[in-house]
């Protein structure tokens, strides 16, 4: 079979069904169904928009929850953070250096150490606060 024969056969395919089709009746039925269609279409649109809106609410609500949760976690992290935690990574020598530096700061002129006191254990609470304020600069 050559291409032409095949194409001619294809052209005839379905011709009986097409010949039997009552075009006017089909057009009439289509128009009648289209008259009924706008309400269904509106309903479909409403349903679609409702679904879209519901999906948006779920997505945005979920996103808000995630953000809020992450903020709470972040805040909790700040609250639970201690300066002492930073010292965990320091070696004994490094800790000694820190203490020496602190000692140096305390004994320096810039720090308001009460006269006659060389040991922190001898300071009362008010004096200790004054020392700490001076350390803050």
């Amino acid at each position: 079979m050559n291409n032409e024969t095949l194409e001619n056969l294809a052209k005839r395919l379905g011709s009986n069904a097409a010949a039997r089709l009552n075009v006017e009746a089909t057009a009439r039925k289509v128009v009648e169904r289209l008259r009924e269609q706008p309400a269904r279409r509106t309903t479909w649109i409403h349903q679609s928009w409702l679904r879209i809106a519901a999906a948006l609410v779920i997505v945005l609500g979920g996103a808000a929850l995630v953000v809020r949760q992450s903020l709470v976690t972040s805040d909790a992290g700040h609250t639970a953070h201690f300066v002492a935690d930073d010292l965990n990574d320091l070696s004994a020598d490094e800790l000694r250096d820190v203490l020496a530096a602190l000692d140096e700061m305390i004994t320096s002129d810039s720090v308001a150490v009460p006269e006659g006191s060389t040991d922190l254990h001898e300071l009362d609470a008010q004096q200790l606060r004054a020392v700490l304020r001076s350390l803050e600069g």
Partner: protein, 182 residues
């Protein structure tokens, strides 16, 4: 009721615009213009003869409902045929669930020479069977080209592919159909 003679020379796009403006006659005219080619296409693509009328209606309903999506990238008829292909696919799914029996030969046309008619029917049946075995895209391209006489550019625009790819699909379809219809 359709009165096609009211708008004899109107272009499809003018009729589409008229339908969008609420003119039911324009819709009826479009049905009158394209219903038979659509019926041939659907029957060629495997629609049972008894269901062709319903499928044609459903195709037009879908087309008119979604006419806002028609951008004129191809002819209205070509666009309609691709919708018909989707309608037929949905019909096939429903029929498979309901296990609809195939068309009874008794409802086919029996006029004319019985011998010629039998040969023609046999060849058509073989072709129809061969088409059913093809991948959907090959089947659509073959029908749009061989049955509807469309150019590859038009087919490509309707099926969102390239003319070269459409040509390849067509030749694959022809090669496979020749093996079926000898």
């Amino acid at each position: 009721m359709a009165q096609p003679h009211m708008v004899p020379a109107a272009h499809d796009t003018a009729l589409i615009a008229a339908w969008q403006a609420g003119d039911e006659q324009a819709a009826a005219e479009l049905v009158g213009r394209h219903a038979r080619p659509l019926a041939r296409f659907l029957a060629g693509a495997g629609a049972p003869d008894a269901d062709v009328d319903d499928l044609v209606q459903e195709t037009f309903i879908r087309a008119f409902r979604g006419v806002d999506r028609f951008r004129g990238h191809c002819q209205f008829r070509t666009w309609l045929l691709t919708i018909g292909s989707n309608v037929l696919k949905d019909f096939g799914r429903r029929a498979a669930r309901r296990k609809v029996m195939p068309l009874d030969d008794g409802v086919r046309d029996t006029t004319g020479d019985p011998h010629e008619h039998a040969e023609a029917r046999e060849a058509e049946a073989l072709l129809a069977a061969g088409l059913k075995q093809l991948p959907r895209l090959q089947r659509e391209v073959f029908l749009l080209r061989a049955q509807q006489g469309l150019e590859y550019e038009e087919i490509a625009a309707a099926l969102a592919t390239t003319p070269g790819a459409a040509r390849v699909h067509y030749h694959h379809a022809v090669r496979r159909l020749k093996e079926t219809v000898k």
